[in-house]
C-alpha cells in the first residue's frame, strides 16, 4: 500500500482524488462481492471460497507488507472458518459475511483509536521518551505546577459554562423563531457560525476583542463601543481571569446554532394537542413552556448538552489561535498539544482529559440503553 500511496503522491492533487476514491470503492466493491458469494452452496462457490482463502492473505500481504500477518489471516480463514461453518447454526458463510462487513471498521478503530488510547495510558507512566517507567511523576508534574492546575480548572469551567449558555440561548431562540415569519433565514443566520472553522472564528472575534491604547482609534468592535461611550479600552483577551469568559463566548457563538437546530426540531415534535390542552387550561406562555415543551424535548436536551460538553472538552483551536494558552487561558486539550515533545507529560494530560470525559460517556451510554429498551 505504501507503494501505491507513494506513486499517488507524485500526481497532481486533482488527479489523486478520483484515483484514490476509485481504488477505495473498488476494494469495497470486491469485499461486498465476496461477502455475497460466500454463503452460496454448490461446487462452484466452494471453489470460490477456497480461492478467497488463498487470495485474501496475499492481499493482506500486499497491503501491509508483512508475511506474519498474512500467515495469520490465512490460518484464520482456512482453518477456523471451516470449523465454525461446519458447526454453524446460522448457515455456512455467516461468519464470513459478518467479518466481511465489520472488519474494515473494527480494524481501523483498533489501530487508530483503541491502540493509541491504551498506549497513551501506558505512556502516562513513562518518561519523556517513553522507555523508562516513572510511576506517577508525570501526574505530580501536572498537579504540582500552578499553570497546569489552572489549565485543569479552566477546562472544567469551559465544560460547565459553554453547554449551559449555548443550550439556553439556543432553546430561547428556537422558541422565539418557531412559526415566525422568516424562520428559515433567522435559523440559517444563527447556524452559520458552525460552518466556519474555529480558526476563522478566532480571527472574526479578534476584530471584536482587539484593544488599542486609549488615545488611538480602536479596531475591535467592543472597544469601539466602549470608547464611543467614553470608557477606557479593555484588553479583553489578556486580562486574567475574565479572558477565559471572552474565549468561551466564541465557542458559545458557534455551538448555539447546533443547539438551536436540534431543539427547534424537537419543539416541533411536541404534540400540538398537549399545547392546546395546556392553553385551554388557561396557562400562560411561560407555564406552557416549562410544563409542556421542556419535558417533551428532554431527550434532545440531553443530546445537545452532552454533545456540546464533549466539544468544549476537546476545544483546542480557539485557545491555540487566540492566546496560545497564555495569560491563564490554557486548557487541557491545548496542554496536550503544547507538551507533545514530552510524551510522558502529554500523555498524563490526555489521561486526565479522558477521565473528565468519562462521566459524560457513562451518562450517554445509559441513555442509549434506555432508548434501546423503548425501541
Amino acid at each position: 500500500m505504501s507503494g501505491f500511496l507513494k506513486w499517488l503522491a507524485g500526481l497532481n492533487p486533482f488527479a489523486q482524488i478520483p484515483l484514490v476514491i476509485g481504488a477505495f470503492l473498488l476494494v469495497a466493491g470486491i469485499l461486498i462481492f465476496f461477502i455475497e458469494i460466500a454463503p452460496r452452496t454448490g461446487r462452484r462457490y466452494t471453489i470460490i471460497r477456497a480461492l478467497v482463502c488463498v487470495f485474501a492473505p496475499v492481499t493482506v500481504f500486499l497491503l501491509l507488507g508483512s508475511i506474519m500477518v498474512a500467515a495469520v489471516v490465512a490460518a484464520i480463514l482456512g482453518g477456523v472458518f471451516f470449523l465454525l461453518d461446519y458447526r454453524a447454526r446460522s448457515g455456512a458463510g455467516y461468519l464470513f459475511q459478518l467479518i466481511g462487513f465489520l472488519s474494515p471498521a473494527l480494524f481501523l478503530l483498533a489501530i487508530g483509536l483503541v491502540y493509541p488510547t491504551v498506549a497513551t495510558f501506558f505512556k502516562a507512566f513513562m518518561n519523556a521518551r517513553g522507555n523508562r517507567f516513572v510511576g506517577f511523576e508525570n501526574f505530580v508534574f501536572v498537579f504540582g505546577q500552578e499553570a497546569n492546575r489552572v489549565a485543569i480548572i479552566n477546562t472544567i469551567i469551559w465544560v460547565l459554562v459553554v453547554p449551559a449558555f449555548s443550550t439556553a440561548v439556543g432553546l430561547a431562540y428556537a422558541v422565539f423563531v418557531d412559526k415566525a415569519r422568516g424562520e428559515k433565514i433567522l435559523k440559517a443566520l444563527v447556524f452559520m457560525p458552525m460552518a466556519i472553522s474555529f480558526v476563522g472564528a478566532s480571527i472574526i472575534w479578534k476584530f471584536v476583542y482587539d484593544a488599542n491604547q486609549a488615545d488611538q482609534p480602536q479596531i475591535g468592535l467592543l472597544n469601539g463601543i466602549i470608547t464611543f461611550f467614553g470608557g477606557q479600552p479593555i484588553d479583553f483577551i489578556n486580562v486574567a481571569p475574565w479572558n477565559n469568559l471572552f474565549l468561551m463566548v466564541i465557542l458559545i457563538w458557534v455551538q448555539t446554532g447546533f443547539a438551536m437546530v436540534v431543539l427547534s426540531a424537537a419543539i416541533k415534535g411536541v404534540p400540538a394537542e398537549q399545547m392546546e390542552a395546556a392553553q385551554l387550561d388557561g396557562t400562560n406562555a411561560w407555564q406552557r413552556f416549562t410544563n409542556v415543551t421542556v419535558p417533551g424535548i428532554r431527550s434532545s436536551l440531553i443530546v445537545v448538552l452532552t454533545t456540546i460538553s464533549i466539544a468544549s472538552l476537546k476545544v483546542f483551536d480557539i485557545v491555540q489561535t487566540m492566546t496560545g494558552g497564555a495569560n491563564g487561558t490554557n486548557v487541557l486539550a491545548n496542554a496536550v498539544y503544547a507538551q507533545k515533545l514530552e510524551e510522558g507529560r502529554a500523555s498524563a494530560f490526555a489521561v486526565i482529559l479522558f477521565l473528565l470525559v468519562l462521566p459524560i460517556i457513562i451518562y450517554n451510554v445509559r441513555q442509549m440503553r434506555l432508548q434501546k429498551e423503548i425501541r
Binding site: I21, A28, A105, F316
Partner: protein
C-alpha cells in the same frame, strides 16, 4: 352555562378562574388573532436581535477584508460608512502567497484533495459496519456497539502521537514486524486520509446505525425470502434507503474535515497543508498583518458556507438521525 363546562359541577374559585381564562383563550384564538400575533411579535423581535448579534462579527470580517491595510490598522470597520475605502488588494496579496510554507492557492487545493476522500471513506466503511450492527445478529453485538460508541469521546489528542509513530515506523511486537510504516509522508495525503477516516468512524457508525435500524423489518425479510444474502440486501435495499442519512453525514464530515486544524497540524505537514494550517501560520507569525488574516479567513470560509447554504435542509435530518424520535 359556558361552553367549557356544560354541566354545573361544584368547582372552587381557583378552578373557576382558570376555566374563565381558558374561555378567554378560546375567544382570543378564534376571534382576535391580532392579539396573539402581538405576543409572538415580541418574540420575533427578540429573535431578530439575537440574529443580528450573531451575524455582526462575521459581517465585520467581511467588511474589513475589503478595506485597504492602512485603514484596517487605524480605524474600526464600522467607520466604513463615514470613511469608505474599498479594495480587493487584500485578497490579491493573500492569494499570491506572501509568506507561508505553502501558498493559499495551493492550500486551497490541498483542502479539497484532503476533504473529498476523507468525507467518502468513513461513510462506506461505517455504513457496512452499521448494517452489520443493525441487521446481522451475533453474540456480543450490543457490547461491541456500545464500545464503538464510547470511542467517540476519545480526545483526538490521545490518538495523535501513537498514530503518528504507527504511520512512521509501523508496528512491531518484540522483534517481529507486523507491518511496516507508510513512510510516504511529505507529499502524500495518505496519512491524513486514514487519520480522518479513523476519527470519523465512531460517530458515523452511531448515526448510520440509528437510521439503518429503523428500516422496517418486513423489507429486509422480504428480501431474505426472495433469496438475497446480506451483501445484496445491503447493496440494493439498505444503501438506497439510508441515502438521506448518508448524504447529511457526508456534508457534516465535509465541513468537519475542511475546518479541522488539529489533525492537519499533525498529519499533513509541509506541502500538503490545508487551508486551516496556512491560516494559523498567518495568524501566528504575522499577527500584525491583519489584512492578510481577513481575506485569508474569508477565502477559507467560502467553501463551507456555500456547502452549508446549498445543502441546509439535509443538516437537520442528519442531526436528528442520531437523537430520539420526536
Amino acid at each position: 352555562m359556558s361552553a367549557v363546562a356544560p354541566i354545573d359541577l361544584p368547582v372552587d374559585q381557583r378552578t373557576t378562574a382558570q376555566l374563565a381564562r381558558g374561555e378567554k383563550a378560546i375567544e382570543r384564538t378564534t376571534l382576535k388573532k391580532s392579539k396573539d400575533r402581538l405576543t409572538s411579535k415580541g418574540a420575533t423581535i427578540a429573535a431578530i436581535i439575537i440574529a443580528i448579534l450573531w451575524t455582526t462579527p462575521t459581517f465585520g470580517l467581511l467588511v474589513t477584508s475589503f478595506r485597504p491595510p492602512e485603514l484596517i490598522n487605524t480605524s474600526g470597520w464600522w467607520t466604513i460608512f463615514t470613511n469608505p475605502g474599498f479594495t480587493v488588494s487584500n485578497y490579491d496579496a493573500v492569494l499570491n502567497g506572501e509568506a507561508t510554507t505553502v501558498t493559499l492557492g495551493q492550500a486551497f487545493i490541498n483542502s479539497i484533495a484532503i476533504t473529498l476522500p476523507a468525507a467518502l471513506f468513513p461513510l462506506v466503511i461505517a455504513s457496512m459496519a452499521a448494517y452489520a450492527f443493525a441487521w446481522i445478529p451475533f453474540k456480543g453485538r450490543n457490547i461491541l456497539f456500545i464500545g464503538v460508541f464510547a470511542l467517540q469521546v476519545v480526545p483526538i489528542q490521545m490518538a495523535l502521537v501513537p498514530l503518528l509513530s504507527l504511520f512512521a515506523r509501523g508496528l512491531s511486537v518484540g522483534d517481529t514486524e507486523i507491518f511496516a510504516g507508510l513512510g510516504a509522508g511529505g507529499n502524500s495525503y495518505g496519512q491524513i486520509w486514514i487519520a480522518h477516516t479513523i476519527f470519523a468512524l465512531p460517530l458515523a457508525i452511531f448515526l448510520l446505525h440509528n437510521f439503518i435500524s429503523e428500516i422496517p423489518q418486513e423489507l429486509i425479510e422480504a428480501a431474505r425470502v426472495d433469496g438475497a444474502g446480506h451483501g445484496q440486501t445491503f447493496f440494493r435495499i439498505v444503501l438506497p434507503l439510508a441515502m438521506p442519512a448518508i448524504a447529511s453525514f457526508a456534508i457534516f464530515q465535509f465541513l468537519w474535515v475542511w475546518n479541522d486544524l488539529l489533525v492537519a497540524l499533525v498529519f499533513a505537514d509541509g506541502a500538503v497543508g490545508p487551508i486551516t494550517k496556512v491560516l494559523r501560520e498567518i495568524t501566528g507569525n504575522r499577527g500584525q498583518d491583519w489584512y492578510l488574516l481577513t481575506s485569508g479567513a474569508f477565502i477559507a470560509m467560502i467553501v463551507p458556507l456555500i456547502v452549508f447554504f446549498a445543502l441546509q435542509r439535509f443538516f437537520v435530518r442528519g442531526l436528528l438521525a442520531g437523537s430520539t424520535k420526536g
